[in-house]
C-alpha cells in the first residue's frame, strides 16, 4: 500500500481509479501492449530467433496480404466466396432466428419443448455434424452454408426471445385495452421493444457465422479463405499462411466494428 493511502486512510479498493499509471492512460497502455506484441514478433523473426519457416516478420505478412487483396484470382477464388457464404449463412440465420423467437414467444408449448435444447446447444461441438453434411451434400457450399446457419441461429433465437419477453406487462395491457390487432401489436410494440436484444443477438450471430464458415473451409473444402490457409500450411508456404491469417483478423475486426456500429444505432436503450 502506498504512502498516500496510509496518510488519507482510504483503503485501496474504494479509491477512485487513477487516470494514469506510469504516465500513460489506459488507452495508451492498450496500444503499448499491441505494439509491443507486434514488435516482438517482428524482432524475433528479423533477428533469427525463430526460423522463417515457422514465423515471418509482420511487415512481410502485411506486404503479402496487400498483394493478395489486389490479386484477382485470389479475390474471386478465396476471399469473395468466403464473404458470400458468411453473408448468406448470416442472413438465413437472422430471418430464421427472429421468426423462431417469435414462434417460441407465442407458443408456450414450443418454448417449453425447445428451451432445454437451446440451453445445451452451444455445449455440443456443432462442427461434429460437418462430416455428416459432407457425406450427404458433398464438399460444395451447401454443407458450409447449413452449418453456418445452424451455428449462428440459436444465439439469435435466444436473444430475440429475451427481447420479446422484455415487453412490460402494463404495455401489453394497454395494447389490449386499445384492441390492438395482431399485426399492429407485432410492428408497433413487439418488434420495437425487442430491437436492442435482437441487435445484440445478430452481432453475436455474425461472429458465429464467420467462425463456422472459416472453420469448415479450414477442415475440409475446395476453396475459400479458410481452405487457403490450411493449404498454405500443408504446402509450407509460411508467408501465404500468415498473410491469410492477418487478412482474416482484419476482416473479422472490420465486420465486427462495422456491424457493431450499425446495430448500436438501432439500440434505443443506449440513447
Amino acid at each position: 500500500m502506498s504512502r498516500g493511502a496510509m496518510s488519507t486512510g482510504i483503503p485501496r479498493y474504494v479509491r477512485p481509479r487513477p487516470d494514469r499509471v506510469g504516465g500513460l492512460t489506459s488507452t495508451g497502455w492498450s496500444i503499448l501492449l499491441v505494439v509491443a506484441g507486434v514488435l516482438t514478433v517482428e524482432a524475433a523473426s528479423r533477428l533469427g530467433l525463430i526460423s522463417t519457416v515457422d514465423l515471418v516478420p509482420v511487415t512481410v505478412m502485411a506486404g503479402r496480404a496487400a498483394e493478395l487483396v489486389t490479386d484477382p484470382a485470389f479475390l474471386t477464388r478465396q476471399l469473395l466466396p468466403t464473404l458470400g457464404l458468411i453473408a448468406a449463412g448470416f442472413a438465413a440465420a437472422a430471418v430464421l432466428g427472429v421468426a423462431v423467437g417469435l414462434l417460441l414467444w407465442r407458443s408456450p408449448w414450443w418454448s417449453d419443448a425447445l428451451q432445454p435444447y437451446l440451453n445445451i446447444y452451444y455445449a455440443i461441438p456443432t462442427f461434429a455434424v460437418y462430416p455428416i453434411l459432407v457425406v450427404l451434400f458433398g464438399t460444395g457450399p451447401v454443407p458450409i452454408l447449413l452449418l453456418a446457419t445452424a451455428f449462428s441461429v440459436v444465439v439469435i433465437i435466444a436473444n430475440a426471445l429475451i427481447g420479446f419477453r422484455s415487453v412490460p406487462v402494463a404495455v401489453d395491457k394497454l395494447a389490449r385495452a386499445n384492441r390492438l390487432g395482431r399485426r399492429a401489436h407485432l410492428t408497433k410494440i413487439l418488434l420495437p421493444a425487442a430491437v436492442p436484444d435482437i441487435a445484440a443477438g445478430l452481432r453475436l450471430g455474425l461472429v458465429y457465422a464467420t467462425i463456422a464458415v472459416l472453420a469448415t473451409e479450414f477442415i475440409l473444402a475446395t476453396r475459400g479463405l479458410g481452405h487457403f490457409i490450411s493449404q498454405a500450411y500443408h504446402t509450407f508456404h509460411t508467408v501465404d499462411m500468415y498473410a491469410g491469417i492477418l487478412l482474416i483478423c482484419l476482416v473479422a475486426l472490420v465486420l465486427n466494428l462495422g456491424v457493431g456500429a450499425v446495430l448500436s444505432r438501432l439500440d434505443w436503450r443506449q440513447r
Partner: protein, 264 residues
C-alpha cells in the same frame, strides 16, 4: 385476437409437466428419423437403431476405446487449465479497474478473431501431436474465461466495498469476503460456457490433425463414407458434452442461490 402469453398469468404447473414437451419433442424427432431412414432405405442415411448398434459395436473395439479415452483425457486437462489459468488471470486483472480498462479491449479484439485460423500456429510451434490439440483447446476456452472472470470481478458492487472501508477492513479480507462471493455466480456460468468452447476447440483440432481422438475418427470415416460410424460418433460426442454441462448447470444454480445472481 390477443395473443399474449404473459397476460395468461403464471403457468401453475409442476416440474414433471414441464418436462413433457421436451421429451415429447425428442420422441417425435427420433420417430421422424426412424421413418425417414426406413423410407429412404439408404446406406448413407442410417436409422437410430442401426446407429446405436454400430456405436455400441465401436465402443467394444480397442482402437475406438483408445480414441474416446484420448479425447476425454485431453478435454479434462485443457478445461482444468482453462479454469485455473483463465480464472486466475481474469480475477487478478479484474481487481484493478485501471488494468481492466487496459486489457479488456485487447482481449476482446483477440476474442473476435475466428480462433480456428490460428490453429496452424499451434501446429508450427507445438508440433503435430497431442500438445497442439490440448494447446488449441486451451486457447479456445481461456480467452472467454479471462473475459468473463474479469467482468465478474470488476463488476463488484460499490456499496459493500464502501461498507468494508468504513469497517477498516484490509485488502485481502475484502477480496476474500466481498469480491470473490460477488464474482462467484458469473464465474460458475463461465465454467459451464468455457467447457463447451474448450470441447469445440478440441474436436476441431482433432479433426484437422492427429492419429486418435473422436474428432479424428469422424473425419476418417468421411473418407470411408461410413455414415453409421459418423452419426454414432456425433451421438457419443453429444453425450460426452451434455453430461458435464448438466452437472455444471446444477452447480451454477446452487452458487446463484447461495451468493445471489442474475439470470437463473
Amino acid at each position: 385476437m390477443i395473443i399474449d402469453p404473459i397476460l395468461r398469468g403464471p403457468r401453475g404447473r409442476g416440474g414433471l409437466r414441464r418436462l413433457l414437451p421436451p421429451v415429447l419433442l425428442a420422441v417425435l424427432l427420433v420417430a421422424g428419423w426412424t421413418i425417414a431412414a426406413a423410407a429412404l432405405n439408404s446406406s448413407v442415411f442410417p436409422g437410430p437403431g442401426q446407429t446405436v448398434d454400430r456405436l455400441l459395436l465401436n465402443l467394444d473395439a480397442t482402437r475406438f476405446q483408445e480414441s474416446t479415452a484420448d479425447t476425454l483425457l485431453r478435454l479434462s486437462v485443457s478445461w482444468l487449465l482453462v479454469v485455473a489459468v483463465g480464472g486466475a488471470i481474469g480475477f487478478l486483472i479484474g481487481l484493478s479497474r485501471f488494468w481492466t480498462d487496459v486489457f479488456s479491449p485487447v482481449v476482446y479484439a483477440v476474442y473476435s478473431i475466428p480462433k480456428i485460423v490460428l490453429f496452424p500456429l499451434f501446429l508450427v510451434f507445438l508440433g503435430l501431436g497431442e500438445a497442439s490439440q490440448i494447446g488449441f483447446a486451451f486457447f479456445s476456452g481461456v480467452i472467454p474465461m479471462v473475459l468473463m472472470t474479469l467482468n465478474a470481478t470488476a463488476g463488484t458492487p460499490l456499496a459493500p466495498l464502501k461498507l468494508a472501508a468504513s469497517l477498516r477492513m484490509g485488502t485481502w479480507p475484502v477480496v476474500r469476503t466481498v469480491v470473490l462471493p460477488a464474482a462467484l455466480p458469473a464465474i460458475a456460468t463461465a465454467l459451464r460456457l468455457t467447457f463447451g468452447l474448450t470441447f469445440l476447440g478440441l474436436i476441431i483440432a482433432e479433426m484437422f490433425t492427429g492419429v486418435s481422438g473422436l474428432g479424428y475418427e469422424l473425419l476418417r470415416n468421411v473418407v470411408l463414407a461410413q455414415m453409421e460410424d459418423i452419426v454414432g460418433g456425433v451421438l457419443l460426442i453429444a453425450l460426452i458434452a451434455v453430461a458435464p454441462t448438466t452437472l455444471l448447470r446444477v452447480l451454477e444454480m446452487r452458487v446463484a442461490r447461495r451468493f445471489g445472481g442474475g439470470d437463473v
